[in-house]
Amino acid sequence: MITVHAQYQSRFREITRVEKESFEIAEPSMAALATAITGKYGPAMTALLMDEDSKSLNSRGTLYLNSKGTRMYLEDGLADGETVFFMVGIAGG
């Protein structure tokens, strides 16, 4: 088991109602973290986080970065203690 941290912004935070939290996951992967989060928060989070057509993380208007500022994908690994930031991805205005 490893411990990873999730930090939420905007629409993600509206669903979770917390800014950050930790998860213990058996697999050190982004896929395991996504499963834990969608399992905890249900359909609204699943719709926001997952692209059911491609079975990947939803990339439409959302952004997931690790602590180095690199976008995360389901197949990416996670280290013990890593933080993943869940954000909306929009620019300009």
């Binding site: 629409r11 509206e14 926001l48 990339s59 976008r71 954000m87 929009i90 300009g92």
Partner: protein, 655 residues
Amino acid sequence: MESRLLRVNLTTGDCKVETVPHAMFERWIGGSGINNWIMWEHFLTHDVNCDPRGPDNIFVFGVGPLAATGSGSGIKGRITFKSPCYGIFGDSAAGGKFPYMVRFAGFDYIAITGKAPKPVYLHLCDGDVEIRDASHLWGKNSAEAHNSLVQELGDYPSLAHTLTIGQAGENQVGIASVVSDASRIHARGGGGCVLGSKNLKAIAVQGSGGVRVQNPRGLLNWSKDFRQKIDQNEAIYGFKRRGTLGAVEMYQHIGSHFWRNNQGNMFRGDEVRSDNWVKKYHKYSEVCSADCYIACDGRYKLDGTESEKAKKYVGESFRRPEYLTTASAAGALDLRDWAEVAHWGKVTNDYGIDNQDLSTSISFIMELEQHGLLSARQKAELFDRDNQSLEWGCMEDVEELMKDMVFQRNRFGKFFHDGPYYGALRYSEFRGQNFMKYATYGKGGASFTEEMRPFPTWMNNMAVASRGADHLKGIGLIEKFQRRDLSMKYFGRLEAADLSTPVLKGACTAVVENQVALLNSYGVCLFHWMLDPGGYTPEDYYGRAFAEVTGIDRTPEELMRDGERICNLEKAFNSRLGLRREHDTICERWMFEPCPEGMYPGKVAADMFETVLDEYYEWRGWDRRTSLQTESRLKSLGMDDVADVLAADGALVRA
């Protein structure tokens, strides 16, 4: 597909209507593409080097073929002109109800030349056109002028919708904007100055007509599918609540804001770092046009309880700030109270002035003060008054300097009326000292309140955008949001999504510029595309809607070439004005000063700048040394006639 172009010569008072033939849509798609061509043709018979504040400049308004069709993809009207502040190609978009009412009034394009002998406004109503006296409107701000027109024109055959200028435009401030229905702004490039120079205070439209669609059933089916895609996208639900303010927290996290003239890239105020304000004070949502399935707009109304500073603005109501309004206020000027940020958005709109170039002009002067480079005597010379405070985050100081600019009250207003680059140049010359290192700008001297240094495609966009430094022409979501899927789709490789390498960043600008040119020519809102319900492919998904409306059925590859053709015409216009590679540049701060904070500290644009620029020219098929277009590339795009003009001007490479 045919549409109507209204030509108005304000010098002679002549108004005539021409048909825009189907062939024009075949070549230029519509919207910004056709606007560009109207301006290009105008300057074949008028001096392209004319004073942009003079009667020979042209002001074109246009809407694309998808606008007001019920497609649900939003409506953007576009204005196109030679920019008075930067002296190059200028254009700017805005949503709202004015664009569709132009179509309902019987027109799609309006081209205005000459100069009226006295203030006038243009009234379009169900195919009729009249130039009317506007002496009672002159001196009013954009909202007051709009409200007066709505009241005096009544509600038959419809309520009036307007484009107006504020006092900034009347005073021919180079960075003056054009305001649509008192609330949405064609901010960039100085369109308000062009109208002011023509003594044209407003355009008011009323209409009861309709819009012809080639295949209504096909468009309805597309529209239904689009609606479903939007409704199924949970991220869009969030966007409806916040609009572009959703970017505030993400930008804060990655260090992409523009704080105190970009000495930093993160907001400092506790409240303005998040979009929670929206939830606290958001009063109601609204659609900016009647043809939008997202409805990201909203209104606030201050009751004075929001903060101590909000007490100054009790009763004030306006649109919820967009991201760049917030970036210029909470970032460039370090205003830390949301009520002040919102007020900044309202007053810049009312005066009709671009908050990007205005905020970076003010923040330039504030930075000189911060570094002790302004004595009391030097400030008195600049402001024609003693003891002008220049304190970061002080709204009173900001409002004074704003009025200096809008009303051209003193040297500050006159030096900086074309934005921070020309302002810094003029002030450096005045003082006999070089202050250019404190000016933040890109191509044309245009400024922009976002951090560039860690994002090579955005950096390149600032250097090459046809209308001067700007994010929208090549808005780099593939790179900034590290979209590997899109990098693979467009390039078959992953590097476009990798911030650590310059590879494919220039290519990214070129490809996205072509896509954005298409969207701007369809006449739709870019945010529908950026939120990606249709798969980020304007050449494919939106192309099908374009076919249903116009009957022009193109492959995605053909549509991307259409986008490329539109970009090349904007480039050709600038080449005629003498712009070359050395003009595709960015300021010293972005180029050489290390990114000070955020997620990507230490980055400097210079590390990748020339490599990215070379690649951009290569993907464009332009000459690397000069940046000029090549004869072969233009001919491959069916632009032989444009190549001939450039050759005659010595602005073409024979390759």
